[in-house]
Subunit: 214 residues, 2 copies
Amino acid sequence: MENSRIVLVDDHQLIIDGLSRIIQEIPGFELVTSYHDPLEALQKIPVWKPEILMVDFEMPGLNGLELIRKLKQQIPELKTVLLTMHLDQATVKEALSLGVNAYILKNLDEFELRVALEKVSKGQNYYSAPVTEVLNSKSKSIQKSSNSQLDLLSGREREVLKLIAEAFSTKEIADQLSLEISTIETHRKSLMRKLDVHNVAGLVRIAVQEGLVS
Amino acid sequence: MENSRIVLVDDHQLIIDGLSRIIQEIPGFELVTSYHDPLEALQKIPVWKPEILMVDFEMPGLNGLELIRKLKQQIPELKTVLLTMHLDQATVKEALSLGVNAYILKNLDEFELRVALEKVSKGQNYYSAPVTEVLNSKSKSIQKSSNSQLDLLSGREREVLKLIAEAFSTKEIADQLSLEISTIETHRKSLMRKLDVHNVAGLVRIAVQEGLVS
DNA sequence: AATTTTCTCCCTGTTTTCGGGGAGGTTTAG
DNA sequence: CTAAACCTCCCCGAAAACAGGGAGAAAATT
């Protein structure tokens, strides 16, 4: 059986170097090349035709999910592994809807990386325990690992929050949604009540933390 | 000559695994142990008596610089290498004043890691080109490697921006810094002018994007 | 030594936010 | 079907943000 050809994209060269050594020691896998610039990766990966693409989520210019989305349009059969620093529900959900095959936290160890790669190459998916826990958010999550605060918002409220966090003024938001200013103000008040903050700064902060923007 | 004994602290196990392999390949150095929890590292490192300590800056609980500060009180002769994701002038300056022997960006490659370790073990210091450039901030850095928008802010402005992004009101910030409200308003206006935004939402967004908070 | 930037504070005035309500129609869930 | 939640819009008033300016003392650069 041939090795599975892997391409790695991470903006930190030192991490590429380290991961490449780990991958070298996993039988059946082969790192063919790597990129530290997501935009360069986007252009050149199609010519490599790798079987598996491993991408860091946090990158300047183009984040990992966007890179995967664009590459999947060109190479639908590409298998993808997302690497990330922190766990965040919005990102996990977006990754799933994109069909990412594995979601790996950087604080996992090399054994889990190996398991994940082997599963992915067989066409299966791999999501580590903390990840699946975030997904089954309907299950308890009463005191521990409470799911995102955004879950108690209505659709419209989330929409308004997103625009607030993008630094639009109330008037601009009203124009954009074809609503009255007073309506946006009502939504903003509901947002502050539900999220327990008392100014827009608090709203923006939560929106960014939860990955609603940027 | 004996090997230089290194201890590594990084909250991401995968990165520890990768770096340990790189260090293994550098002759004259030996990784004796590693920690992913800075608090555990703080307690146990003294018994290892390593020659060189490599620490990630971004860690939960206790950041790399604080860990170094506390350990240097116990082991003044300890040689220290700070690893970090992003370049930030305030951190660089604090690191220098702490006597950190090397400051390495994670987007550097393994060769530079090797050079840095060799210099440090000889009692010299290593600061990569981008780091020294940040220090001599008089050098323009005109088109390439343009640093963040925050670099055109003064120290006080950065401080105020941080507090704004943490959702404190103008009055609360004034109290915290023992300044008049009017002063904070002036700083806020300067921030908006320099960063080209027109409301707090825009300020918070930039602050979060640039890693000033959260 | 001279200039520029920073830091502090002030003034005036307009706009927006914030917190508290209410209210009517629609959608959703029990 | 009924109750709850959602969406829309309105009222009020106090507080804060926003925009423009000025100004003096201290610090940093040149």
